[in-house]
C-alpha cells in the first residue's frame, strides 16, 4: 500500500500546552479517513500539521517522501472549520478568486459541484444561508485536483439535508483510486458509511487507528459503539493508575 503522509513522533506545543504528543501515523493513498475525538483532542492541530500550516516542535512530517512545508499546499487541499470567505463576492467571483490562487483549481469542476449542490452561481456569499455557505466551501475545496483533501469538520453545524448533500458531493467528486480524504467529525454514526478507516484521538494522542470493516467484522459493532468502548476502557485504565 502506497503511503502518502508519514508522521513520526510529532510533538506540537502551544505555549506550555501540548496539543500533539508523540504522534506517529501513516496515511495511505486512496482512502477516506475519519478523525474523531473530543473537542481539544488535537484533531484540528493534526490536520493543520499535515497541511503544512504548522511546524512541529519535534518529530518529522513527510508527504510523498519529502518534508511537509507551506509549499505542500499545492498538492494538499485544506478546508478549515471557519467561514473565512470574502462575503462581498458572488459564488462565481469566489470561483474566479480560487482559480487565481491555486494552480490545480478546476473551474469547470467547481461549477459542476456548485450545480450538483444546487447553489446559484450569481448569489452573493453574504446572502447565502449557512447551509449554502457550507456547500460552496466544500465545492471550491473539492474543485482542486489535489492528492489529499484535509477537511476540518465539514458537517459541523449544518442541517441533515446539507450534510447529506455534502456526503454525496464527496463521493461523487473525489477519486478513491488516487486521492485521500481525511476529515475530522463529531457525526461518526452518520459519516461511517463514507469511511475506510477511523483514527481516534484523545489528549493529543492517537489512541486507535482501525479499518471500519475490521471494526464491524472483528468487534461485531459499529464505529460508534467501538469508540464508546475505547473511551470507557481508557477511563478504567486511568482509574487503575
Amino acid at each position: 500500500m502506497l503511503i502518502m503522509i508519514n508522521l513520526e513522533h510529532i510533538v506540537k506545543k502551544y505555549g506550555s500546552k501540548r496539543a500533539l504528543q508523540d504522534v506517529t501515523l501513516s496515511i495511505p493513498r486512496g482512502k477516506v479517513i475519519g478523525l474523531v475525538g473530543e473537542n481539544g483532542s488535537g484533531k484540528s492541530t493534526l490536520l493543520k500539521m499535515m497541511a503544512g500550516l504548522l511546524t512541529p516542535n519535534s518529530g518529522s512530517a513527510e508527504f510523498d517522501g519529502k518534508p511537509i512545508t507551506r509549499r505542500i499546499a499545492s498538492r494538499i487541499a485544506y478546508m478549515s472549520d471557519t467561514d473565512d470567505f470574502y462575503t462581498y463576492f458572488t459564488v462565481q467571483q469566489l470561483i474566479d478568486f480560487y482559480e487565481s490562487q491555486f494552480e490545480d483549481f478546476d473551474v469547470l469542476k467547481a461549477k459542476e459541484i456548485v450545480q450538483f449542490l444546487n447553489v446559484p452561481l450569481d448569489s452573493k456569499i453574504k446572502s447565502l444561508s449557512k447551509g449554502n455557505r457550507g456547500r460552496v466551501k466544500i465545492a471550491v475545496t473539492l474543485a482542486r485536483e489535489a492528492d489529499v483533501y484535509l477537511l476540518d469538520e465539514p458537517f459541523s453545524g449544518l442541517d441533515p439535508m446539507v450534510r447529506d448533500d455534502i456526503s454525496k458531493g464527496l463521493i461523487r467528486f473525489t477519486d478513491t483510486e488516487r486521492q485521500t480524504v481525511i476529515m475530522s467529525t463529531h457525526e461518526i454514526r452518520e459519516v461511517e458509511p463514507l469511511l475506510d478507516e477511523i483514527i481516534v484521538m484523545r489528549g493529543g494522542v492517537i489512541i486507535a487507528h482501525e479499518a471500519v470493516d475490521v471494526i464491524r467484522d472483528f468487534y461485531g459493532v459499529d464505529a460508534t459503539s467501538w469508540m464508546v468502548s475505547l473511551f470507557r476502557d481508557g477511563k478504567q485504565e486511568g482509574n487503575v493508575k
Binding site: 486512496g30 482512502k31 477516506v32 447529506d164 456526503s167 454525496k168 463521493i171 461523487r172 477519486d175 478513491t176 461511517e192 458509511p193 463514507l194 469511511l195 475506510d196 471500519v212 470493516d213 464491524r216 467484522d217 461485531g220 459493532v221 459499529d222 460508534t224 459503539s225
Partner: protein, 122 residues
C-alpha cells in the same frame, strides 16, 4: 436518499445482500445493467471503495459479470440465480430452525404453525 445500515455487520456485506435481494425478487432482472460503482455509491451514500468491493465480490460469486468498457451486468444464466435462491432459502431455514430449537419448540409444532400461516395467506 442514503440508506440505514445495521450496526453489527460490515456495510459491504449489507450492500451485497441488498443487491442479491433485488436480483432474487426480480427488481434487478437477469442481464440487466447495474449502475456504475460511483453512481451506486452516491445513491446509497457509501464510500466508492466499499462499493468497488461489493461489485468485486458479486462478480466472484458469478452473480454479475463485468463487460469491458460497458460496466457490470446481472448474469443471464438463470441456473445461477436459481442456485442462489436455493442457497439463500437453505440458509434462512437453517438459521430459523436453530432459533426454533433454542427456544425449545419442536420442528413439528413449527411446521404446523407455518402451514396454518400459509393457508391464511392463500
Amino acid at each position: 436518499m442514503s440508506i440505514d445500515f445495521l450496526p453489527d455487520k460490515p456495510i459491504y456485506q449489507q450492500l451485497i445482500d441488498r443487491i442479491l435481494g433485488d436480483i432474487m425478487r426480480g427488481t434487478l432482472a437477469a442481464g440487466e445493467k447495474l449502475p456504475s460503482v460511483r453512481e451506486y455509491a452516491v445513491e446509497v451514500g457509501v464510500n466508492a471503495n466499499t462499493m468497488q468491493r461489493v461489485y468485486k465480490e458479486l462478480e466472484q460469486m458469478e452473480i454479475t459479470e463485468t463487460r469491458r468498457g460497458q460496466g457490470s451486468f446481472v448474469t443471464e444464466d438463470q441456473e445461477k440465480i436459481t442456485a442462489l435462491r436455493n442457497e439463500m432459502k437453505e440458509q434462512l431455514i437453517t438459521t430459523f430452525l436453530q432459533n426454533v430449537a433454542a427456544f425449545g419448540f419442536t420442528t413439528d409444532e413449527i411446521v404446523k404453525c407455518l402451514q396454518e400461516r400459509g393457508a391464511d395467506n392463500d
